[in-house]
Symmetry: C2
Subunit: 209 residues, 2 copies
Amino acid sequence: MDKAALFKISYGLFLAGTATEEKENACIINTVMQVTSIPARVTLALQKRNLTHDLIIKKGSLALSILAQDCPLDTIAAFGLKSGRDVDKFLNVKYKTDGNKNPYLESESTAMLSLSVFDSRDMGTHTMFFCDVLDALLFNDKKPITYDLYRELKSGGKTEAAAISSAKKAEWVCSVCHYKYDGEIPFEELPDSYVCPVCKQPKSVFVKV
Amino acid sequence: MDKAALFKISYGLFLAGTATEEKENACIINTVMQVTSIPARVTLALQKRNLTHDLIIKKGSLALSILAQDCPLDTIAAFGLKSGRDVDKFLNVKYKTDGNKNPYLESESTAMLSLSVFDSRDMGTHTMFFCDVLDALLFNDKKPITYDLYRELKSGGKTEAAAISSAKKAEWVCSVCHYKYDGEIPFEELPDSYVCPVCKQPKSVFVKV
């Protein structure tokens, strides 16, 4: 099995935000899809280790910001690579809230969905949430950022041709969160104790692509 | 609620192929996502009205071709707009089969996943299938086609700027299958008996975008 084949599934990039009485938090996710139109329902998967995961279970609702192509990479990093257990992610961030007081970003997004969880399913490392779309706002006609474009921009905003050419060089990617190793030391020479800096999985989950 | 906001969720484009003893069939889907990496599991949603839906339930497995950016639009139309109840979709098509004898396309794809259904969930108009990844093949370093790019190419391969400019003109889109109405008669003047030519939903499900 070539696990790199799984990286070919396309995704968008979203901010899942929720607020309980104690804590307001949000994290970046890519695994979102609409399942039915009548009624409008979407499903999304969140890692159990995320604080946002626990808060969504408590609250039963969330606001989903559909990030636009011009969303600053710093914003994605701030919400995606830090934990709400350590920092207040919304400190100094301009945001709005939906009808359930869940936070979303408007100027970084192209649209927003206000979601209510009607069921969930335990998937081991992740939980899938099944949601009714309570409200949906379209902000502009910007294109949504895809996870693929985000990774391309993050690696230096290469043109498509350059990205394809550099893709021919072997790279080590975390099979869990798709973090691309970019350290100075060749990946093979890293100690066995190395863990993914993003999702903390062991070195053994990395695959060569 | 502005249902056009839901169109901002990004998807890839896939061929879901399966073969029972009686019938070999496949259809185009966009709603696929990986849920966990350990073990490798994906979920996908299929309309109940599709023949492929019934065949997957019967077989319990499928091959998922992850279509590449250069997949001919005719191939997507042939598998997406016709029903296996009326035609043999694989007639005159060069294809391969996975370990479960399920059909997939290699030269039109960038990768292939061989999937085994371990559970399903009734979602009204659709069924969600939860699958183990039995095998995964990476064919090349082509980019996967996104549903967004497919719609752009289908409407004449406009450049991004042209697409954005034309997007400012109101268009009527089926909220179920995202078919864009392109008839001569203004949409508002169509009879109430009009149905979406792709998914057969009534005129009332169309939204102005």
